[in-house]
């Protein structure tokens, strides 16, 4: 299966290991992965600030990079959600619609499209606090939401549970937002930081050695908080764990 890899801007800049793990993971499952070299960003930071006209350039560039692929996979729920639901600053040509309809977040791609459940190369003998970012949870619906009366399910948990030796610790508030929220993290810094502190302390208090998430943006914020608090808790993207990182 031919797959185009979408690497969100901040992962490209700060967490390339996450993109490498995503790439390697897809290749382990037989995907032929292309990486359009001129990609930058999906446009979400501008669009989430209401600045659609400012997002148009990035959105058009995104479509130019990914047109012609039937599967576009990116390790970021909020970015993929933006592409699927809100890539509307540009005229909706057939090409744009095709890109929008075929963009997948990594966990949903693995779980729903490739349908994989086994990761025999992976082993992670540590206690993990699983963090489901709000875009993954409430927008892309990769797990059930605590507010609703619905049958519990969790795609990331299903995948991670297959990893040898992994243990899970449940925080007191499993799906409360961690406070990143994009530009919220700088424009509403006091509340953002407080939410991040509360989140990492919740996981730490539950016994988690690692916080693992499908969203690196959340993890970047939580990591920044944990380090400032000098909490002995580490952070990994789900791609890294599923790809076989040991620690």
């Amino acid at each position: 299966m031919k797959v185009a890899l979408f690497v969100p801007c901040f992962i490209d800049a700060f967490f390339p290991d996450v993109a490498v793990a995503t790439l390697e993971l897809l290749e382990r499952f037989g995907c032929e992965v292309a990486y359009p070299l001129d990609q930058t960003c999906c446009g979400q930071p501008m669009a989430n600030s209401g600045c659609h006209t400012d997002a148009a350039g990035a959105e058009a560039l995104f479509v130019r990079n990914f047109a012609g692929y039937d599967h576009i996979v990116g390790p970021s729920a909020s970015c993929i959600h933006h592409v699927r639901e809100n890539l509307i600053a540009i005229p909706q040509t057939d090409e744009v619609k095709h890109v929008r309809e075929n963009a997948y977040e990594l966990v949903e791609f693995l779980h729903d499209v490739l349908g994989v459940r086994e990761f025999p190369w992976a082993e992670f003998p540590h206690t993990v606090g699983l963090h489901n970012g709000c875009a993954a949870l409430r927008a892309l619906r990769t797990a059930s939401m605590s507010e609703l009366n619905e049958t519990p399910f969790s795609k990331p948990l299903t995948l991670l549970s297959a990893v040898k030796g992994i243990r899970f610790a449940m925080p007191k508030r499993p799906d409360e937002c961690c406070g990143f929220g994009g530009t919220f993290s700088v424009y509403e810094e006091p509340v953002s930081a407080r939410m991040g502190y509360d989140k990492v302390q919740d996981h730490h208090g539950a016994g988690a050695e690692y916080i693992v998430s499908a969203d690196m943006s959340c993890l970047m914020h939580q990591k920044g908080c944990a380090e400032r608090l000098e909490l002995p808790i580490k952070f990994l993207h789900i791609a890294q764990v599923l790809n076989g990182v040991r620690e």
């Binding site: 993109a19 600045c51 659609h52 409430r138 009366n149 409360e176 937002c177 509403e188 380090e227």
Partner: protein, 459 residues
């Protein structure tokens, strides 16, 4: 008057009071937890939400007809119905009803509408004494502070704060912060007002078109005391509170208190339809921007609100900043989508006091798509040029940079891009805000793109 609310600044102060924020967050999360337990016990809960939403949407799309029906019924019941296009007209009507009867004192139960209309100062300036009877509202009135939460108005205060306020205004013992003592003090000092007030006022949780009844849900029974003792009863009702039939109360009353507090019903669920012989009942139907909001294709859904407060309880931002930080009668998620209709510039910051996490939308009993509306308001605010200049510039710069592969690579791969330098896209213009309470991510040796070119060497 038009200066944008600085929510971030207000929240900073709120967070600095560590005992207060810790209690506030814990208390409201507890209400959220209780709500979850109550709703989990009802297998048809999600279906009820859909029904409630549809009943409200039906009513709002036929609002004029239902209000006319309500008016007919209320008049047949012996009530007098008044119409107020805005807050000023509402206040004048209430004043004139009282003045015409020489009424000088008013006991009232909780009504966000009367706060919205700023009725109390209007009446007080004209020599009418207004006594809030809901305990939380009374605390706030005595402290000359607006309510911070629509269901628990003084949730931001600790018992020691209440003791201080009561000692100052009611003459209670400043060193006694026992909650029973404080509540009993308010009961004891409010009782005479109930017995002697010339008039009583309530808001309405629901107004029934079919029967002309006004439905008021309290736990204290203060609405009933406000109505059953004075000879004059005034009900102030926002036009969006109408529902078609009594049977619909089965849906809404089942949902209201479970959403707000996690209890199946409020202790006192009262239905006022016909005035007692020898007394008068006046109903004031208030627009104050509601019909205009009805015309907003993206935003009219906020009129479905039944004022349960569940969105505030679940909102992680609200819990850590407090209702007063929003600077408006309606705060939290529902406030952020309603307030910009009253003053776009002043409340332009509120839709951004959110991570768009969507929990509010999930707990709303009438399925208001709150977080979608927050997103749409951001577009409106940007289009109407109401963003802060600095943010506008940052978005422009970010947009240009991210539209150009070359400019992007220059920014990200700049030599010496060390821990102090984040790409502009992350820093925006509040350059140091990230690093105030968080460590800045370390810049890796290469970007992914550089890694790809080195290790895979092909596109």
């Amino acid at each position: 008057m038009n200066k944008p609310i600085d929510h971030a600044e207000a929240s900073s102060e709120f967070i600095a009071a560590s005992d207060h924020i810790e209690f506030h967050d814990r208390r409201l999360w507890d209400l959220r937890t209780k709500r979850d337990r109550a709703t989990a016990a009802i297998p048809e809960w999600e279906e009820l939400r859909t029904l409630a939403s549809q009943i409200k949407e039906h009513t709002l799309t036929h609002l004029a007809d239902y209000l006319e029906q309500f008016e007919r019924q209320a008049q047949a019941n012996g009530a007098t119905v008044h119409w107020a296009r805005d807050a000023a007209e509402h206040n004048q009507i209430v004043h004139d009803i009282m003045a015409a009867r020489g009424a000088k004192s008013l006991v009232k139960s909780k009504s966000m509408l009367t706060d919205e209309c700023e009725m109390r100062p209007f009446l007080e300036q004209r020599g009418i004494e207004v006594i809030e009877t809901d305990l939380g509202e009374r605390i706030q009135q005595l402290d000359d502070e607006p309510p911070s939460h629509i269901v628990v108005p003084a949730v931001h205060k600790l018992r020691t704060d209440v003791a201080e306020v009561f000692a100052r205004t009611l003459g209670t013992d400043p060193n006694n912060s026992d909650v029973h003592y404080l509540a009993e003090s308010q009961r004891r000092t409010t009782r005479p007002s109930f017995l002697s007030a010339d008039a009583g006022m309530t808001g309405a949780n629901f107004a029934i078109a079919e029967t002309g009844a006004v439905v008021v849900c309290t736990n204290e029974g203060n609405a009933d005391l406000s109505v059953h003792l004075p000879r004059l009863y005034i009900a102030s009702i926002g036009i969006e509170k109408i529902i078609p039939r009594t049977e619909h109360l089965g849906v809404f009353v089942r949902m209201l208190s479970r959403s707000a507090l996690g209890s199946p019903i409020t202790q006192m669920t009262s239905h006022f339809r016909v005035p007692r012989p020898g007394t008068e009942m006046h109903i004031v139907l208030v627009d104050n921007g509601r019909a205009d909001r009805l015309a907003m294709a993206d935003f009219w859904y906020s009129l479905k609100c039944i004022r349960c407060g569940a969105c505030m309880n679940t909102c992680p931002v609200y819990r850590r900043s407090g209702g007063l930080s929003y600077g408006a009668t309606y705060s939290g998620p529902i406030g952020a989508i309603i307030d910009p209709t009253y003053n776009l510039r002043k409340y332009s910051t509120l839709p951004f006091a959110s991570t768009l996490n969507g929990s509010c939308t999930n707990v709303c009993p009438v399925r208001i798509n709150i977080h979608d509306q927050l997103y749409k308001w951001r577009q409106v605010i940007a289009e109407r040029n109401a963003l802060p200049f600095v943010k506008k510039q940052a978005m422009k710069m970010g947009g240009k940079l991210l539209a150009s592969p070359r400019l992007y690579r220059i920014a990200v791969e700049a030599a010496g891009a060390g821990v102090e330098y984040l790409p502009r896209i992350m820093m925006y213009s509040r350059a140091n805000a990230w690093g105030k309470q968080r460590e800045v991510p370390a810049a890796p040796a290469m970007t992914f793109r550089q890694w790809w070119l080195k290790n895979r060497g092909k596109p």
